[in-house]
Symmetry: C2
Subunit: 110 residues, 2 copies
């Protein structure tokens, strides 16, 4: 498989991290990872084309927000919470606390 | 003078705020305002074209990060810290704590 390059913790750049978080879809992906640990490329209740999601995941990974685990052809992403907390204390935590989860409906039944 | 529209506190959007902060120049403008209160359109030690700065200021204002005060033809921008703290507790504070001030040199003598 191709490697999934991600920046080292010391190389994390605050502006790049904030840029990656500065999009509603990417913010939702980050919220999902924070709530559920690993998240697949196409989370079941997100109505966003797979190719668009793929681009969002790339931006998140290149900014240093995610780690990628491969399982066969599938990819599972998780938040680099410890790395981000070490480099930018409180930033991700306060952002996550300010994100509002979507209203509960039957989409989670998928 | 033209009005300088800015969103109400209740209308501040987290993704828009993070997008506005997700640029090195805008992050530096925010850091300057946090350190010095009001900042003019073209801060003396920033080597960025005035038209580029003007665009950055617009993005910051439209995302709800700044208030603008007019004095004759001059404009002075300040951070809407209280509004942002009310809407997204800890977010701006932790981001500012993670920004590194530029090395001390003779640029501040200008």
């Amino acid at each position: 498989m191709r490697s999934q390059p991600q920046p080292k913790t010391a190389d994390l750049d605050l502006a790049a991290v904030l840029h990656a978080l500065g999009d509603p879809v990417r913010l939702e992906l980050v919220r999902l990872m924070a709530a559920g640990g690993e998240v697949p490329c196409s989370p079941p209740h997100m109505d966003v084309p797979r190719s668009t999601l793929s681009n969002h995941w790339r931006i998140l990974r290149e900014a240093g927000l995610t780690s990628t685990r491969a399982e066969g052809k599938a990819r599972f992403m998780s938040l680099r919470r410890d790395d981000l907390e070490e480099r930018f204390p409180g930033v991700l935590t306060s952002i996550l606390a300010s994100t509002t989860p979507p209203p509960v409906d039957d989409r989670n039944g998928a």
